[in-house]
Structures are given as C-alpha cells and as structure tokens.
Amino acid sequence: MSLTCLSQSEEQTEALGRRFGRCARPGDVLLLDGELGAGKTCFARGLARGLGVPDDVPVTSPSYTLLNQYSARLPLYHFDLYRLGEADELGEIGFEECLHGGGVTLVEWSGRFPELRLEGVCVDIVPGAGASERQLTFSARGERARAWLERCRQQEDTTS
C-alpha cells in the first residue's frame, strides 16, 4: 500500500504529521526521508503536536543532538541519523532501547542505512513544482506500520 499527498505549504505538511500523531500507538515507528529543506522537521513537528506535545515546547531538529525526546500522550523519540558515521553507532545512541520504550519513534534519514531493514511507516518528502509545494509518499513496512497507516487513512480529513 502506498499513498501520495500533495502539500502546498508548511502548514499542510504539519497537518499531515498531526494525523499520524493523533492515531499513533505505543511501539509505532515512522521513517522520514527527504532532502535538505524538504520539510522533515515540519512534518515531525506536526506528529509531535498530534501526540500532544504542547505548543510552547519547540520541536527542533535533532541533527546535531542525534536524539530529542518529548513527553506527551506517548513518549516521542525523535532521531536524526544525518551525522551518524555507520549503523553500528546506533547502539551507542540508545536506538534499540527507544524502539522498545513504549513510545513512538521517529527516524529522519533512515534511508542512509538500508541494511538496518527498519520496519515502520515510510514517509518520503520530495519537492513539487512550486517552491513551497511538496509531494509526500506514504508506505508501510511491517504489520504494525500497515495498521498505523490504515488508521491515519480512515481518519476524517480535518487538516487543522
């Protein structure tokens, strides 16, 4: 199953993220890829807000810190593998513990390490025709991810 959405603005990208946050369940994993400036942090912010991370808590890029954690309806572990040298280093940054930590794990730049064969909802963001237009493609790897994607799809489209 693969779904494609066009987003015309950062707000729309964030709203798509929010839908995933709202219907996430413990153990859900989302793999977020797209080139620099594609809007990954924007989607991530939406997901965090949908999970209930309060508006006054900035959702920032974990590129340097590698992992940002948030408390919400479920804990959110926001990873960014951009600076990771090799997949082995995941152990040192506590990746496995977070995957099994009863929260939602969001991984940016997982595409750099295909050998990990991570399961989860895959979100790929590519630029569209206009400067602020983005195409988002959603697919699922694994049963749990398929269920999450289906829950999102069935949600009323309340892009707000």
Binding site: L36, G37, T41, C42, R45, P58, V59, T60, S61, S63, Y64, T65, L66, L67, Q69, R83, G85, E89, E92, I93, G94, A131
Partner: protein, 338 residues
C-alpha cells in the same frame, strides 16, 4: 580547590583540571589528541562518541598535563545533562567511581551552564549578563543573574544556527563540519550578493528560526542551475550575513530589554569571525560589553564545567552517588534552583 571535570554529553569525550573555578590547569578533548599514542597505537580509529574507549586515557592525560594525580583532586564534576543518555552515563559513572574511590565530593553540571560560564576561566566578569548559547545543537538566549541562576529568554523553534551552517556547507558540497569552511569562504564573498531572509527579526519575541534560511539557500542554489565555485563565496557571505544579523540583533535586543550591559556569546558558533565582528560593531556602539570565550573553550570541552562545579562544591551542593543522568534537562531547573 582543584576539580577534575568530565564532559561526554554528545560527540566529544573531554577531561580537565580546574583550580578555584577560574584557572584551567589542563583541558583535553579526545578528538583533538592522539589517543592512539596513549594506547600504544594498537587501537583502531577512535570516532566521535566512543566515550568508553576514550574516557580513561583522556582523564589520565588531563591529570598528567596538570602535573598531578588523583590524590591532588578535591572534587569530581561531570556533565549530568542534557544529551544522549548512554554518552552522559559514561562520564557520570566514571566521575562517581572516582569520587567514591577517592572519598571526594561529586557534582553534576548542566552542559549549557558550562558553556555560558566559560568566560570566567579567562576574564573578570560581573552578573547579570545576557548569554547567547549558539552551537550545532543550541541557539538559546538566557539571562544569567549568578552561578546557578538562569532564565530562558528565547530559543530556536527549529534548527540551531550551527546546524544551518553545516547544512548549507553540505548543499554547496563543502563537507562537514561546515562552520569553519563557510566562515573562511564568506571572507572572500559579497555579503549583499543575495538577500536571504532574516527570520523572526521583526517578531516581538526573542525566539529564532533558521530552517527557512537553509531552504532559501537551497532554492537559490537550484535557481542557479550549476553552482560554480565563484558562487560559493557570495552565497556563503550572504548566508552568514543573514544568520549573523539575526543572532546579533536579537541578542542586543535581549540585553536592552533586560537592561544589562554585558553579553556572553558561547558555544561552537561563537568561533565565527563574522559573528565576532558584528557583535563588536553593534553592541559596543551601544556601550554593551561582549565577551567571547577563546576558541578552545567555545567547542565542547570539560574545563568549562569547572566554574559552576567550584561554586557548587563550596556551597556543599554535592550530587549523590545515586544521581541519574538527565538527557532532558532545562537550564532553569539546574543549579541553585534545583
């Protein structure tokens, strides 16, 4: 009082010996020394975050450079947070073991607290001041009323300034880490060649946003089609001018709002020469003193922990040997307010 300080919150493993919270007797950062030599050359390449491999050699070297042994140490300090929990635990547990084994007190310091107090290792400074902590992972403004007394004034809502430098360098194919490369190229380019946005400058608050500048640079690069090396310097200069203008004007606005006439700029991006020049011009014209740590104290290091550690030890604010690392820890909850 001599304190052994240990920092391992993210990439770097570092140790230092600091006397009386003011004098750096030694400061060792793993990525900057030849750890292989310490191991006798048998250990393969030591990358970032190999804290467990690096921690003991780094501590031994810090003690040796300070001309002392563990017998001479009156306390042990470690970064307690924020950061990666596994990384923090290496430094904190080592500090606990050393403190327990030697019967000296342990103290936990906040990583950003270390950065924004670093100037005390080199100069006389009075409170209060406004501190800009600006690095790959942080862009935060604080009011500092004393050691352990901090109030958050503003912060980035998306990317840290240092991250924007790294990502623009990547866009231009200049490699990582990008801060120094951009800074050097910017010196050869025209800062007015491209008018990149100055996000949040007109907003009536002290928050930052750098994601939009990064995207604007990306769109500009795309619009050029082929980026020839001649474009690099102008793009670097124009990008740096945009980031520097936002950082300096917001920080000076913070100082004016808080009615303080001292600013500290700390963290890795504080090495940026364009930022240093802009602060000198903008702040000093208004009678505001701007203090930058020297480059060795701007990047992550352990010596910077010594200032707060000394104060906490003198006030008997020891950490218990059962204390945990705090991967998420706001600076306002650190120090004397804990």
């Amino acid at each position: 009082m001599k304190v052994l300080c240990i920092e391992s919150s993210c990439d770097e493993t570092a140790a230092a010996v600091v006397r009386n919270g003011r004098e750096v007797l030694s400061s060792v950062v793993a990525s900057q020394v030849d750890i292989h030599a310490l191991y006798g050359g048998v250990v393969p390449e030591i990358a970032s975050r190999r804290h467990l491999d690096a921690i003991m050699p780094v501590i031994e070297q810090a003690l040796e450079q300070a001309g002392m042994t563990l017998d001479d140490i009156n306390g042990v300090a470690a970064t307690r947070g924020p950061g990666l929990v596994g990384a923090l635990l290496v430094g904190l547990c080592t500090a606990k073991a050393l403190a327990w084994g030697r019967g000296v007190p342990l103290v936990g310091v906040h990583h950003i607290e270390g950065h924004i107090l670093a100037p005390f290792l080199e100069t006389e400074l009075d409170f209060p001041y406004v501190a800009l902590a600006v690095s790959g992972g942080h862009t935060h403004l604080y009011r500092v009323d004393g050691i352990g007394r901090y109030r958050l004034l503003g912060q980035t809502l998306d990317d840290a300034a240092g991250e924007a430098f790294d990502k623009v360098a990547k866009l231009l194919g200049l490699g990582y880490p990008g801060g120094a490369v951009i800074d050097r190229l910017a010196g050869q380019g025209n800062p007015e060649a491209v008018r990149f946005p100055r996000p949040m400058l007109k907003r009536d608050n002290l928050n930052f946003s750098f994601s939009g500048i990064k995207t604007a640079v990306m769109n500009h690069v795309k619009s050029l089609g082929d980026v020839v090396p001649e474009h690099h310097a102008d793009i670097a200069a124009s990008f740096q001018a945009a980031v520097v203008e936002v950082l300096t004007r917001k920080t000076v606005a913070a100082a004016e709002e808080e009615r303080v006439d001292r600013i500290v700029v700390a963290g890795g991006v504080a090495c940026n020469s364009g930022l240093r020049r802009a602060f000198a011009t903008l702040a000093e014209a208004r009678g505001i003193r701007v203090v930058f740590p020297s480059p060795a104290l701007c990047g992550d290091n352990a010596a910077m922990l010594g200032v707060a550690a000394d104060a906490y030890l003198r006030h008997g604010r020891h950490a218990s040997l059962e204390c945990n690392a705090l991967p998420v820890w706001s600076l306002e909850e650190a120090g004397f307010q804990e």
